[in-house]
């Protein structure tokens, strides 16, 4: 406490207090207009670090979502063509059973052999399927005409025991830190036995030998297709689970950002009203105090 007060002291005090209120008003206006409490790191240094890391996490989650979406599309396309492959094997098994009943003529067998050859060609086409210019069963490598992973049965060099010359490096993509999902299976692992079995059936039909001997291999081929489709289903399920997890994590991270940087609009409006009232009272009081001096009382 001072025992004496000077005019400068009063006006300076009024000026400091008004400036303080106006500064706070300016801060609140900035928050209200931007909707953000954290406009610069010094507003909350620890919160700023959290916000930066959280934005980066959201960006990374967006990347994971893109990778998951890509993988889902690729696996979905594989499943669709594997359904065709399954139908091909089923038809081949029907032919083998029909032609093994001993009543089939040579002409019937020749026709059946031709159909099986077409089935074989169709299966090779399935193995060479592409999506967006990329091979579905050869590590997603770019599809180059004339460089198919499976050799066509009519082409020179077709070897039913070893028809595959594509990539053997499965394509894996990351759908989270250190979390990989395999997007492709090497074509030979899916279609290798099926191609050999169809070729064997065709050969038996052409040679007039018992086609039923091909049935075991055809059943194993069907199992290969089925196993791959099951695997795809499991991987798609894993992707769906990861996507749900990403959505939840993204929501939680946005909540963290909002907690750290979002403005409390209700609080701001309340503070603004209170400060405006304070400013008006302060201005009115200052006018009274500064005007109340001896000179004015004495009407000098």
């Amino acid at each position: 406490m001072f025992s004496r007060v000077s005019d400068v002291q009063i006006s300076s005090q009024v000026s400091v207090n008004l400036a303080r209120v106006q500064l706070r008003l300016q801060e609140l206006s900035e928050q209200a207009s931007s909707g953000v409490r954290l406009n610069r790191p010094s507003d909350d240094p620890a919160g700023a670090g959290t916000v930066i890391r959280s934005h980066s996490i959201i960006n990374a989650l967006g990347q994971d979502t893109r990778a998951a979406s890509f993988a889902r599309g690729f696996l979905g396309a594989q499943d669709a063509v594997l359904d065709d492959a399954d139908s091909i094997i089923t038809r081949a098994r029907e032919i083998a059973v029909q032609q093994a009943n001993g009543v089939a003529s040579d002409a019937d067998r020749a026709a059946a052999a031709t159909e099986v050859h077409e089935l074989l060609s169709a299966l090779v086409a399935v193995g060479n399927s592409e999506l967006g210019g990329r091979r579905l069963f050869s590590s997603g490598e770019d599809a180059v005409p004339g460089a198919e992973p499976f050799t066509h049965p009519d082409d020179v060099g077709f070897d039913p025991a070893n028809p595959y010359s594509g990539s053997t490096t499965p394509l894996e993509v990351e759908i989270g830190s250190g979390r990989l999902v395999r997007v492709t299976t090497t074509g030979s692992d899916v279609f290798g036995r099926a191609i050999a079995a169809l070729d064997d059936l065709e050969t038996r039909l052409q040679a007039g030998t018992d086609p039923s001997a091909s049935l075991t291999a055809l059943e194993l081929s069907a199992a290969d297709i089925s196993t791959e489709r099951s695997s795809i289903g499991a991987r798609v399920q894993s992707l769906d689970e990861r996507t749900g997890q990403i959505d939840k994590t993204e929501l939680a991270t946005k909540e963290i950002i909002n907690e750290a940087s979002g403005a409390d609009i209700v609080g701001i409006v309340t503070d603004l009203v209170a400060l405006q009232t304070q400013l008006q009272i302060s201005a009115a009081a200052s006018q009274q105090i500064l005007g109340a001096n001896l000179a004015s009382m004495l009407q000098v």
């Binding site: 001072f2 000077s6 005019d7 010094s42 507003d43 934005h55 050869s138 490096t169 993509v173 990351e174």
Partner: protein, 475 residues
Amino acid sequence: MGLTPIFDLATRALRAQNLVLQTAGQNLANASRPSYSRQRVVLAADPPQSLSGIVVGSGVRVQEVQQVVNTLTETQLLQARSRSAGEIAARDELSQLETVLGELGGGGLQETLDSFFAAADDLALHPQGIPERTIFLATAETLAARFQDRATQLAELQRQIDERVAAAVPEVNGLLDDIATLNGEIFRAEVGGQNANDLRDQRREALGQLSDLIGITQFESNGQVTVVGPDGLPLVDRDRATHVVADKATQPTLTGLDGRALTRLGFEVSNGDFVGFSSTIGGGELGGLLAVRDTDIPSIAASLDQLAEALRTAVNAVHTNGEDLDGNAGGSLFDGTTASTLRVLITDPREVAASLGTSTPEDNQNARALAALQYTALDGTDAALGNADLDGSNFVGFLSSMIGTVGALSQTAQDRAEAAEAVTTEIQNRRAALSGVNTNEELLTLLDAQRAFQAAAILVNTATSALDAVLAMVD
């Protein structure tokens, strides 16, 4: 008994009250000046005289016109102003630093780092894709450019501060000259018995302005202040001033982030050689500016360089471990060891090494390894990552710590400036309470003096009437 002493007494009373009126008027005229120190007339009773054996009072005399000042408060105020000015300058520049790094407003390094690693992720989805490879290189270019921008902005901020430092030196020297001149004038006035109160006010204000610019110590002896600066250098000694010199040429020079010399402060010795201050200039705007220029900005620049160096080292280590689209070993992607020199070496998208040395271009393992770097904590011990070191953090983690550090520096500077301003305001209030003018007081003084003046005038009239009466008796 004669009447003459009454006239003398009344005359002295009139003069004294006239001086009181003048002084009150001077105080009222300067009431709004914060640096003004009120004055008051100290009156004392004249020694009594013996008239016809009876001792009677002989009136009033003016002892002095005193300036109401507390020297301890004045010294404290100079120190507080000095500290406050330093903290405010540091706060303002650190606020600029926050703006320069601008990570919260979007378009910052974090976003660019994320985009770079996202491009690596996209490359992993399609390692043979030329568009993905092109985008990967483009994001690397953007990232390098962003590092260069930040480094340039830091260097520019440091240069702007340096220019402010250099520009303040003539102002410092002008004030030193003013104080030295005022020292001489005050000394001569007071030795001659004259009132030097207003000159002292001017000198006090000049000392205040000097304290706002540079940390000083000052003391008064025989009416003259000695101003001591850094290294104990007497900047003002009686009526002589020693100028502060801003120098960029004398070895060893101080190099800025832009590679050009920074201003060093010091003084000239008798042979004209420049000698730099060895101690830190504490306090004042210059003290605050130099602390940010020489400590805070270089520290943040070093962190930025560490981030750039770790990026170059780790990315190159992974990239050179892979194979490009044509089966060739991957080359270095980045060059440069600092943020300002970081640049991308590869321009051909086919040379991006997305596969892992198996001569299978569809392999994405190296692209994945590049993308995985975003999550990798680098502690300088992993040779496979070139021993890149971010003190155990990953890239964004290190960046967020760096931004947090800048925020904490700025926040601390704001708090310190606020505290220093509060202390200064408190001392200014204490000073104003003692030395400031209260118009009510002065008006009352005016009324008192007016009445006393009127009374003295009546005394003259009365004495005149008495003298007339005496003269009438003679007639």
